[in-house]
């Protein structure tokens, strides 16, 4: 019997479609259900920080190589490189629950989790509301509701206090890269941080997390301050970059502040530190220009 190519392709498409729909069904069934004893693998540094902040660090049995805060986290075995997940290493940690950000969670095959009886908690953390929701949901997984609620209250009060400190309106841009220039868009953690610090993101109207821009686009938004987030120890290279930039555009109309503070990149329990860092950068810049902060 001969099989026509069209029929073969249709059969193949049907099989693939079926496989995909089964995969989706498996993912849809994932929900955090607390079971004791809980053994957690965290696949995101900010989720690891949240677990430690609600004093659930002792439940961690696996982390990514980038989960390096607080210091105790580094004693937890590494099961993932951060970008790609090593399923075998992950299963060897014998977790009951995996907590991950949505992008990474999609890499883990649902059928394997189902067979191993592992719960997958996937979340998105890009705003303050996301932090509160995630802390709340993690607290139910770890049975640390009281600790988490206390932490949320403490963070909320801290943010309210800091809100009162903001004096004059500041327009700022956050940059994550130099060549090309990459700025924090309206749906980024950077945008949320600026909002929490009482600062206007000049790219808040963008519906993207990060956007590629050129210097001219940056100038057209008239920021007072450009916060350049750099890697630890990369200040010298960044200063070289801005020195050359100022040679190209002698009076860009904005000041530049460099920061390598990790909390600026991690939406999590160190949100107050991040807001303080933004205020510190603004104050330093105001002092340099002889203005009242």
């Amino acid at each position: 019997m001969t099989l026509r190519p069209t029929v073969f392709l249709l059969l193949l498409a049907a099989l693939l479609g079926n496989a995909c729909s089964r995969q989706s069904a498996t993912e849809g069934s994932k929900s955090p259900t607390p079971e004791a004893p809980v053994r957690i693998v965290s696949l995101a540094p900010n989720l690891t920080e949240m677990l430690f902040a609600m004093e659930a660090g002792d439940l961690l049995v696996g982390r990514t190589m980038f989960c390096d805060f607080p210091a105790q986290a580094t004693s937890v075995p590494v099961v993932s490189g951060g970008v790609s997940v090593d399923i075998e290493a992950l299963l060897q940690a014998n977790p009951t629950t995996i907590v991950a950000l949505e992008g990474v969670a999609g890499q883990i095959p649902g059928n394997i989790l189902e067979q191993a009886g592992i719960q997958l908690y996937a979340t998105r953390v890009e705003t303050w509301d996301d932090i509160v929701r995630t802390l709340d949901e993690l607290s139910r997984i770890t049975s640390r509701q009281a600790k988490a609620q206390a932490l949320i209250r403490q963070l909320q009060e801290g943010l309210e206090q800091r809100n009162k400190l903001s004096a004059r309106p500041i327009r700022a841009a956050i940059l994550y890269g130099h060549r090309p220039l990459v700025a924090a868009g309206g749906t980024s953690w950077g945008n949320e941080l600026l909002r929490l610090a009482g600062v206007t993101n000049v790219f808040a109207d963008s519906d993207r997390p990060n956007l590629q821009i050129d210097a001219e686009t940056l100038l057209s938004r008239h920021p007072d301050l450009v916060i350049d987030i750099i890697a630890v120890g990369a200040a010298e290279g960044a200063q070289e970059f801005w020195k050359e930039f100022h040679r190209q555009v002698p009076d860009p109309g904005f000041a530049v502040a460099l920061s390598a503070h990790e909390a600026l990149l991690r939406p999590g329990p160190r949100v107050l530190e991040a807001v303080d860092e933004i205020h510190r950068l603004i104050q330093e810049n105001s002092r340099d220009r002889g203005e009242a902060p």
């Binding site: 060549r179 100038l219 070289e240 555009v249 002698p250």
Partner: protein
């Protein structure tokens, strides 16, 4: 001695040169909004306006011209060397060497800054790493593809393709061990970017000089390349050593790819499409193909970058210029190929 250019080639050179100048003027005058058009009349804004025109737009335009010319001429060079119309600057492994060199510098920068607090200079370091990587690979492949003093272009092509696979694996490995902002920097560089912010003038001058010298060298070599493309026996008969011609052709084309990738990452289709268009317009005499490819590549990339720069309000982000060249170059190449086939010949 035969006449250097036919009337048609001379006409196209003049037209493209004028078109390039006109396009550069438009490129400098039109922007994403930072300069606007009013400030020319406002003395307070004039200084910043001039800085945007000269410091940003003109420099970026010149970078686009340099990279476009380099990639296009190297494409024409590799197509002549390999006698394969599908050859492009990224097929011989030289670009893979540049990718590994540039990415390695970025990763080392991150590693050194995190562990030792040391720092490699940004764009200049990446340029140097990519250029050295490309040249080392070019020399290595040239040595490996030589047997009994003869450069085997088939081996060169095969080794180049294989090396590119190896290079992509190395780049993937480097991307896997790096995180955060450095990762996105690598991705953006590999996608192709003509960002000039922070790029030292000395680097542009150096690259510009090398592009001019290499293109000039290929133009000087063009008559001999014509003879070699007719067959090596014909070349020997005319007193031309084809081995020497092939080596120079490979070396100069490799230097141009190294410069193009080092300055702007992977900007596709310029080196593939433009030489084809040039041959359709003005014939396959390399004395015309090289200068017209330089002008055509420069014009094409300048236009593509103008679109990329102006894409911000529509796309919400500035498109990488490599995306624009691929959107235009891909369909254009297929149309050219289809038309050539319909006429019963190759492009």
């Amino acid at each position: 001695m035969t006449r250097r250019w036919t009337g048609r080639t001379a006409l196209w050179v003049a037209l493209l040169a004028l078109g390039l100048l006109a396009l550069l003027a438009l490129y400098v005058l039109v922007g994403s909004g930072g300069a606007g058009n009013g400030p020319l009349l406002n003395p307070e804004l004039l200084e910043r306006h001039q800085a945007i025109l000269r410091g940003l737009r003109l420099r970026r335009g010149l970078l686009a011209i340099l990279v476009g010319a380099a990639l296009s001429v190297s494409g024409a060079g590799f197509q002549a060397l390999l006698r394969n119309p599908l050859a492009d600057p990224f097929v011989t492994g030289v670009s893979g060497g540049a990718a590994v060199g540039g990415t390695l510098v970025m990763v080392l920068t991150a590693f050194l800054t995190q562990t030792l607090g040391a720092s490699l200079t940004g764009p200049a370091g990446v340029f140097a790493g990519a250029f050295v990587g490309a040249v080392v690979v070019a020399l290595l492949l040239s040595r490996l593809a030589t047997a009994g003093g003869l450069l085997n272009t088939n081996s060169l092509l095969l080794m180049g393709v294989v090396f590119n696979f190896f290079a992509s694996a190395v780049v993937l490995f480097l991307k896997a061990i790096i995180q955060g902002t450095k990762l996105s920097e690598i991705l953006f560089w590999l996608m192709g970017t003509l960002a000039v912010e922070g790029l030292p003038d000395a680097l542009l001058w150096l690259a510009g000089t090398l592009v001019l010298l290499s293109t000039g060298g290929l133009i000087l070599l063009a008559r001999r390349i014509n003879l070699v493309s007719l067959g090596e026996e014909t070349a020997w008969g005319a007193g031309v050593n084809p081995e020497s011609v092939k080596r120079w052709l490979f070396l100069l084309s490799s230097v141009l790819v190294a410069l193009g990738v080092s300055l702007a990452g992977f900007v596709g289709f310029v080196g593939l499409v433009i030489p084809h268009v040039v041959r359709i317009l003005a014939g396959s005499d390399h004395r015309g193909v090289f200068p017209l490819s330089a002008l055509g590549g420069a014009t094409f990339l300048l236009l593509a970058d103008l679109v990329a720069r102006l894409s911000f309000p529509l796309a919400g982000t500035q498109l990488p210029v490599g995306v624009v060249t691929a959107f235009v170059g891909g369909p254009l190449f297929i149309v050219l190929l289809a038309r050539a086939q319909a006429k019963g010949g190759g492009a």
